[in-house]
C-alpha cells in the first residue's frame, strides 16, 4: 500500500505538521462546540432543525413550519432538499434533523415495507403510522386535509391516441410506452411494483429522472417518455394540460400531508410548538398547496417569500 512513498522521506515529514495542525483545530473546534451546547442548557425554546426532501412542495412546507416557529421565538436551522425519502427518513431517525413533512400512507408503507398497512382511510392510516413510529421515538403530528399522491400523467396527444382516462386503460398499451419518474420508482410499492400488481401494467421501459421536477416535465414534453410520474398537487399538470390518469383501483392511499417530529424535541419544547405546527397543518388543503406549488414551480417565486405571504394571509403570522 505505501510502496509509493517508500523512497520519499520528505513527504511524511512535510505532512506531519499539517496533520498536527488539523488535529489541534479539530480539538479546539470540537471543544468549543461542546461548550456552547452545555452553556445553552435546557433552553425554553430549543433550536429546531427542519429537513425536507427534494421537491418543491417539501421546500414550501418546510418554510411554512419554519417561519411560524421563527415568528414565535424558535431558532430554526433549515436542512432542505436533502434527497429522497430513502435519505431523509434515516436522517430523522438518527437525529440529524428534528422534523420534516411526510405523507401518511407512503411513509407508513416505506417504514413497514407492507402495502396492506395503509388504506384510503386517513384516520386509520394515521393511527397505524403512530404505532410504528413510537418505538422509533418519533411522533406524527396532525395530518392536513391536503392529499398529495403519485399521479401518472400523459400528454393530451397520448391520451387521445390510446384513449386513456384511467390507469386501468394503460394495461393494454403500456408495453409500447416508457414511464419516467424518480430513480427510486422501481423499488417503491406505489410506483412500478404497485402498477404491476394492482393494474397489471408493465411498461416497455423506465427512465430515471427526478421527483416530479423539471427533468420529468421536459422528458414528457420532449417525448422521451410517454407517461410521467408527477405529484397530484403539481400545478404543472393543469398548466400544461396533461391528463392525470384516474387511479380507479385505488393504488394510491391516504397520502395526507403530516409533519413527523422527534419525540425528544417534542418533550423538550414548550406546548406552543405543537399548537403552532398543527395550526399551520390544519389550513393546508389540496387546493391551497397546489396554488403554492404553482407560485414556486411555475411562477418561479422564492419558496421563502411564498410561504411568508401565505402565513400572513391566513393570519398564522402577524
Amino acid at each position: 500500500m505505501d510502496t509509493g512513498y517508500g523512497n520519499s522521506v520528505r513527504r511524511p515529514r512535510g505532512l506531519f505538521p499539517l496533520l498536527m495542525a488539523m488535529l489541534a483545530a479539530a480539538v479546539v473546534l470540537g471543544g468549543s462546540g461542546q461548550g456552547r451546547a452545555a452553556g445553552s442548557g435546557p433552553a425554553a425554546k430549543p433550536t429546531v432543525r427542519i429537513g425536507s426532501t427534494n421537491f418543491i412542495e417539501q421546500l414550501i412546507l418546510a418554510e411554512l413550519y419554519g417561519q411560524v416557529l421563527e415568528a414565535n421565538g424558535y431558532k430554526v436551522e433549515r436542512r432542505l432538499n436533502l434527497g429522497n425519502r430513502e435519505i431523509v427518513a434515516p436522517a430523522l431517525e438518527s437525529g440529524q434533523i428534528d422534523v420534516y413533512p411526510e405523507y401518511l400512507a407512503t411513509y407508513l408503507t416505506y417504514l413497514t415495507k407492507d402495502k396492506s398497512k395503509a388504506s384510503t382511510d386517513a384516520a386509520a392510516t394515521y393511527r397505524t403510522l403512530q404505532e410504528v413510529l413510537t418505538p422509533k421515538h418519533l411522533t406524527v403530528l396532525d395530518y392536513a386535509p391536503a392529499v398529495d399522491t403519485n399521479g401518472f400523467v400523459v400528454t393530451k396527444e397520448t391520451a387521445g391516441k390510446y384513449r386513456l382516462t384511467r390507469l386501468s386503460d394503460l394495461a393494454a398499451v403500456a408495453g409500447q410506452l416508457v414511464l419516467g419518474g424518480p430513480p427510486e420508482c422501481p423499488d417503491r410499492p406505489f410506483c412500478l411494483p404497485g402498477l404491476r400488481q394492482t393494474y397489471g401494467i408493465t411498461f416497455k421501459d423506465f427512465k430515471a429522472l427526478d421527483a416530479g421536477g423539471p427533468l420529468t416535465v421536459a422528458a414528457l414534453d420532449g417525448k422521451q417518455i410517454n407517461v410521467a410520474l408527477l405529484f397530484t398537487t403539481d400545478a404543472v399538470i393543469a398548466a400544461k394540460g396533461y391528463v392525470l390518469l384516474q387511479d380507479d383501483r385505488k393504488l394510491q392511499l391516504a397520502d395526507n400531508i403530516a409533519p413527523v417530529v422527534r419525540t425528544a424535541l417534542l418533550d423538550k419544547a414548550p406546548a406552543d410548538f405543537k399548537t403552532l405546527i398543527n395550526g399551520v397543518t390544519a389550513k393546508i388543503t389540496t387546493e391551497e398547496i397546489t396554488a403554492l406549488n404553482r407560485k414556486v414551480g411555475l411562477d418561479k417565486q422564492d419558496p421563502k417569500v411564498v410561504a411568508a405571504a401565505w402565513l400572513n394571509q391566513k393570519g398564522l403570522v402577524k
Binding site: 430513480p183 423499488d187 427533468l215 421536459a218 422528458a219 422521451q224
Partner: protein
C-alpha cells in the same frame, strides 16, 4: 465503541458482498438498464465529448505553439475555466441544451464534458510544440524548410508524445466525469451511482463506481497502445532514453523530451535529412 467498529466492519463486508452479488446477476447485464447498454452509452458520451474537445483544442494549441504568440492570454483564460466545477457547468448546460432544442441527457452532458477536455488538450499541445528542441527547429529552417514544413515534418512528430499525453488525460477525466450526466437523465455508468444512491442499493452504487474506475483504467491503457502506434520510432527511442512519461514533467522542464535526443549523437538533424531525402525521391 467496540460494537460500533464491529458493525462498521460488517457493513463493509456486506457492501462487498452486495456488489459482487449485483455484478453476478445476469439480469443486470441485459436490457436498457443493463451494463452492456450503459457501457455503450458511457463510451458514446465520452467519445463524442473527447472528439469535439480535440477538434477545438488541437488546431488552436498547434497554432499557438508554432507561432508562440498570444499563448499566455489563451492559457490563462483556459486555466480560469478549469476552476469551474463540472457540476456547475452541468447545471448551466441543461437550460442551454433545452433552449437549443437538444433535450435532456446526452447533449447537456457533452456540453459539460467538452470544457473539461479542451484546456488539457490545448495546454499540452502548446507545451508539446514549444518544447521541441529549438536547435532541431533551427536546423530545419536552415535547410530551407518553410513554416508549414517545419511544423509538419519536425515539430508535430517530435511533439506527438506530449500531445497524446494531453489527450489521454482529457479522456480519463472525461470518462470519470461523464458519471455526472446521470443527474440530468443521461445514460452511462453514472446511472448506477445516482440510482443506487436514490434507491439505497449499495450493490448497485458500488458496482457503478467500480465499473467507472475500470473503464478509466482501460482508457489509460488504450492510449498507451495508441501512443505506441502513433509516435515515430526515433521519438520513441528518445523518450525511452529520457524516461519522460508524464507531460507535466516535460512541461516543467524547459527542454522537453528531446533534451536527450540531440545529446545522443545528433539523431535530430539526421531525421530531418532522412525525411527531406524521402520527400525528394518521392516527388
Amino acid at each position: 465503541m467496540g460494537r460500533g467498529a464491529g458493525a462498521e466492519r460488517d457493513a463493509d463486508v456486506s457492501a462487498v458482498l452486495a456488489t459482487v452479488a449485483w455484478l453476478a446477476d445476469p439480469a443486470h447485464w441485459r436490457g436498457t438498464d443493463g451494463i452492456v447498454t450503459r457501457l455503450a452509452e458511457h463510451l458514446a458520451l465520452s467519445g463524442t465529448a473527447l472528439t469535439i474537445a480535440a477538434l477545438l483544442a488541437l488546431p488552436a494549441g498547434m497554432w499557438l505553439g508554432h507561432a508562440g504568440r498570444g499563448a499566455l492570454v489563451v492559457i490563462n483564460v483556459l486555466n480560469v475555466g478549469r476552476a469551474l466545477p463540472s457540476l456547475a457547468i452541468l447545471a448551466f448546460a441543461l437550460p442551454v441544451a433545452f433552449r437549443l432544442g437538444l433535450g435532456l441527457g446526452f447533449w447537456p452532458t457533452v456540453l459539460m464534458l467538452v470544457p473539461l477536455g479542451v484546456p488539457l488538450i490545448l495546454i499540452n499541445c502548446y507545451v508539446a510544440i514549444r518544447s521541441v528542441d529549438r536547435e532541431v527547429v533551427d536546423v530545419a529552417w536552415g535547410m530551407g524548410m518553410r513554416g508549414w514544413e517545419v511544423f509538419q515534418e519536425v515539430e508535430l512528430p517530435l511533439a506527438a508524445p506530449i500531445i497524446l499525453g494531453g489527450a489521454r488525460n482529457a479522456a480519463v477525466t472525461i470518462v470519470a466525469t461523464a458519471t455526472l450526466g446521470a443527474l440530468v437523465a443521461s445514460g452511462g455508468l453514472g446511472r448506477y451511482i445516482v440510482d443506487g444512491l436514490a434507491r439505497q442499493e449499495t450493490g448497485r452504487l458500488v458496482a457503478g463506481a467500480v465499473l467507472v474506475a475500470l473503464l478509466s483504467i482501460a482508457t489509460e491503457a488504450a492510449f498507451d497502445i495508441l501512443e505506441r502506434l502513433a509516435v515515430p520510432p526515433a521519438v520513441r527511442a528518445a523518450r525511452h532514453a529520457d524516461e519522460i512519461r508524464l507531460p507535466g514533467v516535460a512541461a516543467r522542464r524547459e527542454l522537453g523530451p528531446l533534451s536527450a535526443y540531440v545529446d545522443e549523437g545528433d539523431r535530430g538533424p539526421a531525421l530531418v535529412e532522412r525525411r527531406r531525402q524521402k520527400r525528394e525521391s518521392g516527388g
